[in-house]
């Protein structure tokens, strides 16, 4: 690596590529390539919790915005679960109206700073971007993030116009992405909203799950603050099911509707020997300690976390990547990731896998733990894995991993993090037995988030099982529509869409 590399943003890389030029419009100047997001070098960022990408400068953002061809029938909007008016906000950026661009996004997306960072754009808006057919799509995610940051750092977040208050009260259980979306949508429609959050901080998976270096918590706080300024009340430390039941919210507390957005939240384990040794964490515990309780700032924050010298993360999703990258930042010497399929089948976002690989995570693919071995003080020492190979595609279309008979290997490790997903937390079902769930405990809803119980709605991971932030937001948007229609007496069939 050259030690005198220039930190200057790559503005001069406006190299022209003739491929980008659409043949039918020869007069259009050649389109510059997609702007690269400047980011912290891997050798540095693995030691700090500061966000990895630096964000675009206004110049870079305008340059990127200029790449958008402003399609008449924008495909990108179709790819967005919450239908952000993408060409419109990009046009505003291009003209330098950054704050207006942010307001434009907020008309349909209450959490732009979050979505700009954690949405899998490559499989949503950017996948359908027309530029992507012949070259690289517009960096919609970067631009969304830019607007939101510009608005937040400028300190002038504008409140949108609200409808006149109606007399309806809605309870929202859980302040994760689904709950925040419902709150954002319904508060604009004039509802009185109360969010019940089990933790002492709002944001759900945004605060306890996603690490600081991917989503600074200051952003989540700003978003929640914004909702509070819209008049949403947040009651922290309320575990619905324990301190109040869903039925009590509807009867005793007089809510007209209840929205359940409690997330998945029951960690899966491998059910192999040695899983209760000291030094075996669920991803939920590891990330909650580090993110929500800020164990990486221990002892200023009092919640401790085991650091581990050689860490093994089991799983191949975004959460596994988050765990592995957190472990590096907490000072581990070596972080291995054990996953039973190959890299192509990893459910994690390509960008996350790329970042993890860049940071030096050791991928041990096509292998699966069969036993965790400890010493006599009950501390993890080694993990025994079986080798796998890929067989025929299964229902999900991914090639099925098959264990190879008799082929085992052991890894030396002192910390194991199990990141193989979550089941539905049974707390709501146990205390609201008449709510209908499927065999995995996920709540069954219709297309507008209605459960089998009148005026009870649900969305997010408690409905879909572990999925993405934006899909939870999409579900929340649908549920908000459902709630609005039901409370206002609008029949679905009367609405043309």
């Amino acid at each position: 690596m050259s030690k005198k590399k220039s930190p200057a943003p790559k503005k001069e890389n406006a190299k022209q590529s003739p491929k980008d030029k659409p043949a039918e419009k020869p007069k259009r100047p050649p389109r510059p390539p997609r702007t690269k997001m400047p980011e912290q070098p891997p050798d540095i960022r693995i030691k700090n919790f500061v966000e990895v990408p630096y964000g675009l400068t206004p110049e870079e953002a305008q340059l990127e915005a200029a790449r958008c061809i402003q399609c008449k029938r924008p495909k990108c909007v179709e790819g967005c679960p919450v239908s952000v008016q993408i060409p419109e906000f990009i046009a505003l950026i291009k003209d330098g109206h950054f704050a207006e661009a942010a307001s434009k996004i907020k008309e349909t997306n209450v959490l732009p700073a979050v979505c700009g960072r954690v949405c899998p754009q490559e499989t949503q808006c950017e996948e359908t971007c027309i530029l992507g057919r012949r070259g690289e799509p517009v960096a919609i995610g970067y631009l969304e993030r830019f607007c939101a940051d510009y608005e937040r750092l400028g300190g002038h977040i504008k409140l949108p116009k609200k409808k006149r208050p109606n007399d309806k009260k809605v309870a929202i259980v859980g302040s994760g992405p689904a709950g925040l979306t419902v709150a954002g949508d319904l508060s604009l429609l004039g509802y009185k909203l109360t969010i019940f959050e089990a933790f002492h901080k709002g944001g759900g998976v945004l605060v306890y799950g996603i690490p600081e270096f991917r989503l600074p918590k200051e952003i989540v706080e700003t978003e929640i603050n914004y909702l509070e300024r819209l008049g949403v009340e947040i009651k922290y430390n309320h575990v619905i099911g324990m301190c109040k039941s869903i039925n009590e919210l509807l009867t005793k507390d007089g809510f007209d509707a209840v929205f359940i957005g409690v997330g998945a939240g029951l960690p899966r384990f491998l059910n192999i020997p040695g899983e209760n040794l000291n030094g075996v964490y669920s991803a939920n515990e590891y990330l909650t300690r580090s993110n929500l309780m800020k164990a990486y700032l221990y002892p200023t924050y009092n919640t401790p976390i085991m650091k581990g010298r050689k860490v093994t993360v089991v799983g191949g999703g975004n959460v596994a990547m988050d765990c592995a990258r957190t472990a590096l930042r907490l000072g581990s010497d070596k972080v291995m990731l054990v996953y039973r399929r190959a890299r192509e089948q990893m459910p994690a976002r390509a960008e996350e896998v790329h970042h993890a690989a860049e940071e030096g995570i050791d991928f041990r693919l096509l292998s699966n733990p069969v036993e965790i071995i400890g010493d006599d003080t009950g501390v993890v020492k080694r993990i025994k894995c079986q080798k796998y190979q890929l067989g025929e595609p299964d229902d999900s279309g991914r090639r099925r991993p098959l264990p190879i008979e008799g082929e085992y290997f052991e890894l030396e490790t002192d910390l194991v993090i199990i990141a193989i997903g979550n089941n539905a937390n049974p707390l709501i079902k146990a205390t609201t037995p008449d709510i209908e769930t499927n065999k995995w405990g996920n709540i069954i809803v219709d297309e507008f988030g209605r459960t089998n119980k009148n005026f009870v709605y649900a969305a997010g991971d408690i409905v879909t099982g572990g999925a993405t932030v934006i899909s939870a937001m999409g579900g929340g948007r649908k549920a908000a529509t459902g709630i609005h229609r039901d409370l206002m007496g609008i029949k679905d069939e009367d609405v043309q869409d």
Binding site: K4, D43, K47, N48, V50, Y54
Partner: protein, 522 residues
């Protein structure tokens, strides 16, 4: 000549029986005796038989005489000691010595519970070093005839730095003596008389309202855990102990640092360093681990990018500094050299300045007025300076610090420096040149100040900065006849580099806030 337990031992005029016995590896149990303190004869555990004398004598107070015949162990002596010990234990929790389950329970409950009030067993931070337990083992003590009487004295936790629980006190008087005889302070005294005797301050005031300097010597000599350092009592046995010199002022006190898990966990005056009669001050005894283990330490070089300071690596940071130096004429560049640098780092700064023909070298706040006078555009400072924004001529600020501090927000480059406990070198003190030892590793990418200078020099293609150890720099200084100077930092200075110690050490803040009316704050 002298006979102890039937063996002849050499006689030395003026010594006590206890001293002679210890020199000859003869064990006599003691509680009130302490090597740094004059004999007291309070606990009477050291009773011995001196032949020809009636009754028993205190080994700690009885001076030997030529031809003396002494017995330290006999059935009678043991019985006597057990009775005395039983009386002492009637005022100190003893379940940890007496409980039938103690051994099993210890195996099962690993580690010490960090209890607010010590009630014995695994609530006691002194458990491993408890002198009462040692004596109990030596006397094979298993039952007690008198029930333990708990005095229900209030736990004194309303002072900074140390907790006091006189329910655990056995009135050995070590703390009173160290306060009077060693420190010359007499803050701690025996109050009340007879059965109500108690150690405390006069009028039972909190220490912060007395003239107590919080030197912590009373804590260091307490054998029971009645006096304990609130921040430094739970680490049990340290992994290693390293001695070094304090750099916080010109006094040059030596202290010994307990290191555990690669962190500084405890401090005390260096017992090997006999020239210091009194202990180290409150900054050294109590503040240093809290200060230097603080989370606010600078850990990464940072450079300004997109209006924010982002972490980066040393190569990029040094290149950035070099770029700044190359883009401005030397007359517009100033160096601020902190008095808290070791001599070698100070020398390297003056060396790089002369190589670059930078003549604006500032060493005090007064020098800063030159910024406006000379229209300085670049300031490279080795400590955080307040109000840098008011110097309108400054275009670039390079801040080399241990903590994020004043001026941080305006800096273009931030360079994280190692603290003085994380580097090896020399400093010039009132006692002359003294060595500073590397006690622990600097956090993350923080580097010794002299190494930072060397890195920048390398980036500027300057020769003569390729040092591997500070001893090489010392050699060069010696060859050139350059000597370090005392830095003119007086004992009661409240900062380490640009950071107010009180900002990082809450207890210290309480102390100086409470005493801000006095001219000597502690």
């Amino acid at each position: 000549m002298l006979v102890i337990n039937g063996n002849q031992v050499p006689y030395e005029e003026g010594k006590t029986i206890l001293e002679i016995a210890r020199e000859n590896d003869i064990y006599i149990p003691t509680l009130c005796a302490h090597e740094r303190l004059p004999s007291f004869g309070a606990c009477r555990m050291c009773m011995v038989k001196v032949h020809g004398n009636k009754g028993f004598m205190n080994a700690c107070t009885t001076k030997v005489k030529d031809g003396m015949v002494v017995t330290t162990e006999s059935l009678e002596i043991k019985r006597l000691r057990r009775s005395i010990f039983e009386l002492i234990l009637s005022e100190h929790p003893s379940s940890c010595m007496m409980c039938a389950q103690a051994e099993h329970c210890d195996k099962f409950n690993s580690g010490i519970m960090k209890a607010g009030v010590i009630t014995g067993c695994n609530t006691c931070p002194n458990k491993e070093t408890c002198e009462l337990r040692k004596i109990s083992d030596a006397l094979n003590f298993k039952t007690i005839r008198f029930p333990m009487f708990y005095k229900h004295l209030p736990i004194e936790r309303n002072d900074p730095f140390f907790d006091r629980d006189y329910n655990l006190c056995i009135h050995c008087g070590r703390c009173v003596r160290v306060c009077q005889d060693v420190e010359g302070a007499s803050i701690l005294v025996f109050t009340h008389r007879g059965h109500d005797t108690k150690v405390g301050t006069s009028f039972e005031k909190p220490h912060i309202e007395t003239d107590c300097k919080f030197c912590g010597q009373c804590v260091d000599v307490c054998p029971t855990g009645a006096l304990s350092a609130r921040n430094q009592k739970w680490y049990e046995t340290p992994d290693e102990q390293v001695s070094t010199t304090c750099l916080l002022c010109d006094k040059g006190c030596r202290f010994q640092i307990d290191v555990k898990w690669g962190r500084m966990v405890g401090m005390r005056p260096d017992p090997e360093y006999k020239t210091l009669e009194t202990g180290i001050c409150v900054k050294g005894r109590f503040c240093l681990p809290v200060l230097l283990n603080n989370m606010d330490r600078l850990r990464f070089p940072r450079i300004r990018r997109n209006f924010k300071l982002y972490p980066t690596n040393w190569d990029e940071a040094a290149a950035k500094v070099a770029e700044i130096f190359e883009n401005y004429p030397p007359s517009k560049i100033a160096l601020y050299i902190s008095p808290f640098l070791i001599d070698e780092a100070d020398y390297l700064f003056t060396k790089i300045a002369s190589d670059l023909e930078i003549t604006n070298i500032f060493r005090s706040k007064e020098d800063l007025t030159n910024i406006n006078k000379k229209g300085i555009k670049v300031l490279y400072t080795t400590e955080g300076l307040p109000n840098l924004d008011k110097y309108k001529s400054l275009e670039k600020i390079i801040l080399q610090e241990v903590f994020s501090a004043d001026g941080h927000d305006f800096a273009d480059v931030i360079l994280p420096a190692a603290a003085f406990t994380e580097e090896t070198g020399t400093i010039t003190t009132n006692h002359g040149i003294m060595t500073v030892e590397k006690v622990v590793k600097a956090p993350d990418l923080a580097l010794e100040d002299w190494k930072i200078v060397a890195k920048i020099a390398q980036e500027l293609d300057l020769s003569g900065f390729k040092f591997i150890e500070t001893s090489e720099i010392q050699g060069e200084m010696k060859r050139l006849g350059i000597k370090g100077k005392t830095r003119g930092v007086e004992e009661h200075y409240l900062k380490y580099r640009g950071t107010a110690i009180a900002d990082k050490v809450p207890d210290f803040k309480i102390l100086i806030e409470a005493r801000k009316e006095r001219d000597k704050l502690w």
